[in-house]
Amino acid sequence: MSVLDTTDTLDVAGYAAAVRRSLADLGPEQVDDLTDDLEADLAEALDDERHVAHGRGVLEQFGPPEEYAAELRAAAGLAPASAAGRAGLPMGDPVQDARRLGRWALQRLRAQAWWPAVEDFLVALRPVWWLLRGWVVYQLVASMAGVSGWFPHNLPAFLVLVGFVVLSVQWGRGAWFRGSSGAWVATAANVVAVLAVLPLLGTVQDGLNDRELVYDSYLAGAFRDGGTQTVVEDRAIDGVVVDGMQVSNLFVYDAEGNPLTDVQVYDDRGRPVRTTFDNGFEQYWFPEATEPWSFVSRVDSDGRARWNVYPLQGAPTSEFTYDDEGLQVLPAGSSATTPPWPFAKAPALDAPPEAAIGAEGPVPTPTSTP
């Protein structure tokens, strides 16, 4: 017997399996007696060069497997399938009807000139369907078991997938599920797989789209602050910030390190530099304070409140009362005091370098030359 390529072998195996299924009602012994050498005989017939069968497919040469089985059964002197009391459905077997419809469709298609090439191509893809079918069944089982992911992540799940693929391929080849007991389970699983494959592929595509969206937002920086989707803006705040902390007061020392009071601070554009913006209503805690303080403003010669005079003076908040206008003021008789200095004296500086000031102001004379 010559060597056939694998697709022919698998075709024959599938055909033989179908023949056996049609004979299944006779019982496994009888089926074996009738079909012991079936694969070998079919293969040899297809391969026989002297016979016109050479190069034809199994279905083409032998006709539908059910008819082959009926002929075999009749020649062997056994009762035909329907009379053998198969447990069929009462209202006309939909499986048989479906098969008839499929055969009719195939016959119509085969009448077209372009069909044989297409059919060969599709038949060549059958093993791919077997692999896909195994994965579909794995996916359905996995999603019911709560395992996520389109491909197994761990060894047990991978083994399960391999198991389903092996089952699918072996059934496709006709090697397993030959008897009537296992056949309907395999057929049902096949139908489920066919129905489920498109929706499953759709959800896989959705899942991939979702991941792309998440990845894009990751690239845009959505996950920097520990996973919450905060957008970090660099927005400047008003006030004085030291070491990431907004400070409530400034303490100024002169060159020798002596504390200065009533220092007016302006920024590079001449704007007053403020540390507080509450007009005296807020409370502030600072180190070594036992209770919070509130600040009071200084008043300039025009009568405006000035909050850029440092160090800001105030008093513990508890000493404040409210006046007739609802403002927080110190009661008459008590006055604002300076909050505790961080240190009594700052380190003395080196002799200051030459400082050039704008044209309006006087040039300070250095106390000594460097």
Partner: protein, 109 residues
Amino acid sequence: MDTTQLLKGVLDLAVLAVVSDEDGYGYDVVRRLRAAGIEEVGDASVYGTLRRLYSSGALTSYVVPSDEGPHRKYYGINAQGRAMLEAQRKDWQEFAGAMGRLLKTEVVR
């Protein structure tokens, strides 16, 4: 005329004749039938006939192991089969003679 109808009556005889010539397995018998000119018979019919003849005791069967291919089941004829063959051969010759006379043609013996 559709020879399949003719064949249904005499397939047993044809198969017995082939197997009595030499033991053979399923497709081997099919091939020899076709070589003798019986083209119309379906493979399944031949296999079923072999099975039925074996069940009725006219044929023996044994498995021949093979190194290269699968093991094949061979059929051989036994005494009962030979007796059946002889009886059916006579029936056929009488029948063919009668038909020949009716049709006024010679029957090749």
